[in-house]
């Protein structure tokens, strides 16, 4: 039986339309393109590499900005390389960090090879075992709409949501590749000097 999946660009657009001041960090590959496609903004930080870094850049940012919500939007492959980060984040227990895993169950950038999440690993279950405050697996845009409402409400600790998306390579929407400029842009947005 094939379970339903959702359109990644539409799902990400809905999350971002409801971001409500959240700072957004994206994992390399398609999640960066999805977020960029929804509109380039000063309060986005896109990763083009450093695979496994997105959730932890998000943790550092959340700890530095405890009054703001931080939303990490990354893929199953990127998060698989940071499996241990779920333990680190759970122990750190930020109340302002939400991880959104865009899970197509494949390594989409490298030829659509099947990933661990297509072979039984569920990040929602892993995060629950680690002690995340809230986890869920979503398969429809209606559930994403409900998630947008939920994300507005205060959390008791880190939250993780798996969005099961359709495995397809959409036209790329490329964020700026100048990592220094994107860094300085976000810092300026927060009122910090650029060096």
């Amino acid at each position: 039986m094939t379970l339903p999946t959702m359109d990644r660009r539409v799902a990400v657009k809905r999350l971002l339309d409801a971001r409500d001041g959240a700072l957004v960090v994206t994992g390399l590959g398609s999640p960066s393109y999805d977020v960029h496609a929804a509109g380039d903004r000063d309060d986005n930080y896109y990763l083009w590499g450093a695979m496994g870094g997105a959730a932890l850049v998000g943790l550092g940012l959340a700890q530095a900005q405890p009054q703001r919500r931080v939303m990490v939007i990354t893929g199953d492959g990127e998060q698989l390389m940071a499996f241990g980060s779920l333990a680190t984040i759970s122990v750190a227990r930020p109340k302002n960090l939400d991880l959104i895993i865009l899970d197509n169950q494949h390594f989409g950038e490298t030829g659509m090879q099947s990933s661990h999440t297509g072979r039984g690993i569920g990040f929602d279950k892993v995060a629950a075992a680690c002690g995340f405050a809230e986890v869920a697996e979503l398969r429809s845009l209606e559930e994403v709409d409900a998630l947008c409402e939920k994300l507005r409400r205060p959390a008791e600790g880190p939250r993780l949501f798996v969005l099961k998306i359709t495995a397809e390579n959409l036209p790329r929407s490329l964020p700026p590749r100048d990592a220094v400029a994107v860094k300085n842009r976000l810092r300026a947005h927060l009122g910090f000097a650029t060096c």
Binding site: A50, V57, L59, Q63, A82, K183
Partner: protein
């Protein structure tokens, strides 16, 4: 007992006391540099820094499952206006290499303190390959590497490294020589 032997014993005691002071002095210079976040994979040589930062209400600390997590956390921390230091052993440097492309490519200020293994009175041969490769690996990915072999030199080196990292957007590792740390007791 001759006077000169007394003097020599006193000197030995003074040296031991001085060497025991450097961890607290390194903590003091990191605080003076505005460090308010610390991430670590433990090493015996970092014991005092871990204890003091963990007890410091002005500092957010993270215990890591693997060292490269600290590199990414430090980047996010700088994005949000904090200054981070990452503590690890030389064996952990190898775990960090690709993640360091984030710090190098985006020119995130980065300060890493590395306690060395595999280079002085090492009892575990498995520590030698990464210990010997530590400095070359860090330089290969683009970090500046400083090194200290005595307590006073380390305190100065950390103070200068922090200034370069946070005032000049540099990515710096300070290697703490195993000769300074002494032979591991077990």
């Amino acid at each position: 007992m001759t006077a000169s032997l007394h003097a020599k014993q006193a000197e030995t005691v003074t040296q031991a006391a001085a060497s025991a002071q450097w961890p607290d002095q390194v903590y003091d210079v990191l605080k003076a540099a505005g460090i308010n976040q610390m991430s670590y994979v433990p090493d015996a040589g970092h014991t005092t820094l871990i204890r003091r930062f963990s007890a410091d209400p002005e500092v957010v600390t993270n215990v890591l499952t693997t060292e490269e997590e600290g590199i990414a956390i430090a980047a996010g921390s700088w994005l949000g206006g904090k200054r981070s230091v990452v503590l690890m052993q030389s064996s952990g440097v190898g775990n960090c290499i690709n993640m360091l492309s984030l710090s190098v490519q985006a020119r995130f200020p980065l300060l890493v303190l590395v306690t060395m293994r595999g280079e002085w009175a090492e009892f575990n041969p498995w520590q030698v390959p990464m210990g010997q490769a530590t400095e070359a690996s860090l330089r290969a990915i683009g970090l500046s590497v400083l090194r200290a072999e005595t307590g006073p030199d380390l305190v100065d080196t950390v103070a200068q490294a922090a200034a370069m990292a946070f005032d000049a957007d540099q990515q710096i590792a300070v290697l703490i020589g195993q000769r300074l740390l002494g032979k591991k007791k077990w």
